[in-house]
């Protein structure tokens, strides 16, 4: 439970902000909640609402939102070695609850405690995901209904960047992690002008490949030394 605390610090303001923004973009309460409950993926919800208020055509809104979420295919693949024995029904539920924060928390936990049984792993995933999912819906609702009372100038927009950066920094523990992160940042900035989500995919894949490459090279170096 305690482990979800830093994530709640971002989930709650992020969802509040989404509630406020989608009201300003002209959604009604049901549509706002529809986004948070049916899509349940913050970055793509913001992308979609932003594009809708920019008068973008529906197809582009959908494709951009999905592109932002393509990273979750990588999350899905990363969890397979840990959760492969789960029933089909549980996998559906896992898929629905698979967000940045529940993925990051669970993977960290599994790597730290590799001897957990499958039921223990599932309990950890569902426990942390539920603790993140309920506040997400509640805070969206609060933002949509109380939104006008929240002042515009408290820089809520920066809640997500700060929390993500705080999550990433402690992970930069090897040269390979640093290289992956550096390449991803540079390419994300270089390709920022590409249609929404595309630059992110290119930068992320290149960063991941860089990390894997550096790891391989360093392992070879060690092997020849020893």
């Amino acid at each position: 439970m305690i482990a979800t605390t830093p994530f709640l610090i971002v989930v709650v303001p992020f969802a509040l902000l989404f509630g406020v923004m989608s009201q300003e973009a002209g959604m009604d309460l049901a549509q706002t909640m529809g986004f948070s409950i049916l899509v349940f993926a913050g970055a793509s919800q913001f992308t979609a609402v932003q594009l809708i208020s920019d008068q973008a055509p529906a197809l582009l809104v959908i494709l951009s939102g999905l592109a932002v979420n393509l990273r979750m295919a990588m999350y899905s693949a990363s969890l397979v070695p840990w959760l492969r024995g789960a029933s089909a029904g549980k996998k559906v539920l896992i898929a629905y609850l698979l967000i940045d924060q529940s993925f990051a928390l669970s993977l960290q936990h599994y790597e730290r405690h590799p001897r957990l049984t499958l039921p223990q792993r599932l309990a950890y995933f569902f426990g942390s995901a539920t603790l993140l999912c309920l506040p997400w819906s509640l805070a969206t609702w609060a933002g949509a209904t109380l939104g006008r009372a929240i002042p515009d100038d408290i820089a809520l927009d920066f809640a997500m960047p700060i929390t993500f950066l705080a999550m990433i920094a402690p992970m930069l523990r090897t040269p390979a992690h640093l290289a992956a992160c550096g390449v991803a940042i540079v390419l994300a900035l270089v390709f920022a002008g590409l249609p929404s989500g595309l630059g992110l995919m290119i930068a992320a894949l290149a960063g991941m490949a860089t990390g894997a490459l550096v790891e391989t090279v360093m392992e070879r170096g060690k092997a020849t030394q020893g």
Partner: protein, 111 residues
């Protein structure tokens, strides 16, 4: 193609995004079964978080929508402090607090 204005078209966007996002999340969990991924893929997946999250955040730090896409000292400093405290202390909450403090202090000072 016309912009998304009617209630119906907004609901179509919500449903399409919801179903599509679910399928993305479900993809490998559902299909991989007992097979293992190739070692090179597993090796790449180790770097998912440190590649995707910074790539998602970097443009938001450099060109925040709140300032109309102009680089802005308060947000840049807050990001730098968050990373520095995170790398030095490995403490997620402490670095969020440090970053938020710098952000609000700078926004207040810069008016």
């Amino acid at each position: 193609m016309s912009p998304v204005t009617s209630d119906l078209s907004i609901w179509i966007v919500i449903l399409a995004l919801g179903i599509g996002t679910f399928l993305i999340r479900w993809s490998f969990l559902a299909t991989l079964g007992d097979r293992d991924l190739p070692p090179i893929v597993i090796r790449m997946l180790r770097y998912t978080a440190v590649a995707v999250l910074p790539a998602l955040v970097a443009p938001l730090v450099m060109w925040p929508a709140a300032t109309g896409g102009q680089p802005e000292p308060a947000r840049l400093s807050a990001a730098a402090v968050t990373i520095a405290v995170g790398v030095l202390t490995k403490n997620v909450i402490l670095s969020i607090v440090a970053g938020a403090t710098v952000l609000f202090a700078m926004l207040y000072v810069l008016g």
